[in-house]
């Protein structure tokens, strides 16, 4: 049993990503969508925490949202995997429940 967590706000604006990472369990997945994709930036104040959590939780970023915001792959953490909307759907079905951190 695992959970897909979605985070749609920038970690520099709210604590949603922080709280999400603090509650995600081993084997869960975290998907950064909309403004949440800024959580995938490397060299930020959140990067270490995201990288550390990536050891036990698979972390994804919505590529269309990252592209829209001018975040190319080289600006983002290597540990974070890009997905498209089809990938988002797959994550929803692969995990037993989806929890949105709004």
């Amino acid at each position: 049993m695992s959970t897909l967590h979605t985070v749609n706000k920038s970690p520099f604006a709210t604590q949603s990503l922080l709280s999400c990472l603090n509650h995600a369990k081993d084997g869960d997945a975290v998907l950064m969508i909309e403004d949440g994709v800024y959580g995938a930036l490397s060299g930020s104040g959140m990067s270490e925490m995201v990288q550390a959590k990536a050891a036990n939780v698979v972390i994804y970023v919505m590529s269309p949202d990252a592209d829209a915001r001018g975040l190319s792959a080289d600006k983002m953490l290597a540990e974070v995997k890009g997905v498209d909307y089809a990938g988002f759907v797959n994550l929803v079905t692969e995990h037993d429940r989806t929890q949105s951190w709004l």
């Binding site: 979605t6 749609n8 706000k9 969508i33 909309e34 403004d35 269309p64 498209d84 909307y85 089809a86 988002f88 759907v89 797959n90 929803v92 079905t93 429940r97 989806t98 949105s100 709004l102």
Partner: protein
């Protein structure tokens, strides 16, 4: 799988209605069923028939009306949230003595029970909000 969707923020101000739209399209393309989309909080504003977005921008309400019609998706607008925010269908407008109604085609006003029912009847539920 049967996937239920909740949209809890209004059009344009938040990306929620857009992300949900692309998600639902991908789910349907992937062979999944999306029997219902439930609109709550400011999400009820997606159902307004009166929006006039700039010509070169996507028309969020039209997109949802068309998608729902093509794939028989039940677009449900929560009555309590709708009343608070001034979204009324013809029946509600008459019942409440208001001089206009403003719900677009394809959307219907109903109770919060429809949200719970969606949670019970679908395999997955995803919320798009703030």
């Amino acid at each position: 799988m049967k996937i239920g969707v909740v949209i809890s923020e209004g059009p344009y101000t938040h990306q929620a209605a857009d992300t949900a739209y692309h998600f639902v399209k991908a789910a349907l393309a992937g062979g999944h069923e999306v029997p219902r989309v439930f609109f709550y909080h400011d999400g009820v504003n997606v159902s307004s028939r009166l929006t006039i977005p700039p010509q070169d921008e996507r028309h969020i309400q039209n997109n949802w009306t068309a998608l729902a019609q093509e794939h028989e998706i039940d677009l449900v607008v929560c009555i309590a949230a709708a009343q608070r925010r001034g979204l009324l269908d013809e029946n509600e407008a008459n019942r409440q003595g208001k001089d206009a109604n403003n719900i677009a085609d394809g959307f219907r006003i109903s109770g919060l029970g429809q949200l719970i029912e969606m949670g019970i009847q679908t395999d997955r539920l995803v919320t798009f909000g703030d």
